[in-house]
Symmetry: C2
């Protein structure tokens, strides 16, 4: 395998997220032409429209076809699957538009759940009542029940997640666009924004 000419790419609903072995870069799903790349690209994608396009291109290799979903479940996002494969023992918290939480023990996927992401939850409170339109306080005291409105919604969103995630007593790995923000309530966690690429490399090494 020639690492120097290989690209990895994680495709979401809005962007292509590339990693060339050294640095990362993003391209917009709407403006980027995948046939402008001539190198071999190993990719995963949750974007079915892009998937159709890439199927025609020989140098774009969909890693999904090399993954057995038996250990996971059929409708599980391929990004969650691949991130889980990068971890031997731990809780993967991927904080994007949704926050996915996946537990891996002895390299086996135990299960996982889906929680709303920061923006989605903020909008959710605001839609219930303008009286709940507060930004979240990421430095709230997680040890005592709030006595003010901002902390009452922050606790509702963050403490319930925190209590669940820390209950597994395993290392926590934060990834995704809001990883650093969530680290404020999980100071013990490791932030690994390239976790998905570690998982992809692992799959490539065995195909």
């Amino acid at each position: 395998m020639e690492d120097s000419v290989m690209l990895l790419c994680d495709i979401g609903n809005t962007s292509y997220h590339f990693f060339d072995g050294e640095s990362e870069f993003k391209e917009s799903v709407t403006s980027f032409s995948p046939n402008s790349i001539k190198k071999k690209v190993y990719y995963i994608s949750v974007n079915s429209k892009v998937n159709e396009q890439l199927f025609e291109l020989e140098n774009w290799i969909n890693l999904a076809s090399f993954i057995s979903m038996e250990s996971f479940y059929e409708t599980m996002g391929i990004d969650r699957v691949v991130a889980s494969m990068a971890v031997a023992n731990g809780v993967v918290v991927d904080a994007g538009s949704a926050i996915t939480v996946d537990l891996i023990r002895d390299s086996v996927f135990v299960g996982g759940f889906i929680y709303p992401g920061i923006r989605a939850m903020s909008k959710c409170y605001k839609n219930i009542s303008p009286a709940l339109d507060y930004s979240f306080n990421f430095t709230l005291d997680l040890e005592s029940l709030p006595k003010n409105s901002q902390d009452a919604i922050s606790y509702g969103f963050l403490k319930t997640l925190h209590r669940e995630v820390t209950s597994y007593k395993l290392p926590i790995i934060l990834t995704g666009g809001d990883a650093k923000l969530l680290q404020k309530i999980f100071p013990q966690a490791e932030v690994d924004e390239k976790l998905i690429f570690s998982g992809m490399k692992k799959i490539i090494s065995i195909i």
Copy 2:
């Protein structure tokens, strides 16, 4: 105090919720005329428009003016305050458009938090992605991490709340429109749809 001619009323954003000592009934905020009632009405209200109207009517008595907010906090909803006053030791879970959770120990309000209600949270997941547009499974297994999409969002919404609420190791009292639905995940809880009226009676007894 003449119980037989007295009415209690809890006013929300959409309805007047009456209790005459025996039965409950609701009237719509948009169509009901409060001056059609000549009896004495003790009320609380989170609806500022209705409050203005009622201020003019002598037989409508706002119980909020008899409550010291010092033990609570300034922006706390009066319905949460009054429900909390009905309980000596317990967790009040009021499941409406939002789910409020309030802890009372030895008749003292310890603190509380605000979580999205069932409809709001369902909409929240759906807005993130059509792939998350599932109804919640209230009979999911709370003891093991899910391996399917419906349970993954149900667990995200319900288990995180469940873990927090049960952590206080105090009796749980469910109230509000979705109390019976939430009882499915809190089978040990008591459902008390008239909790707010018990709190109101307690206040009336000391004024």
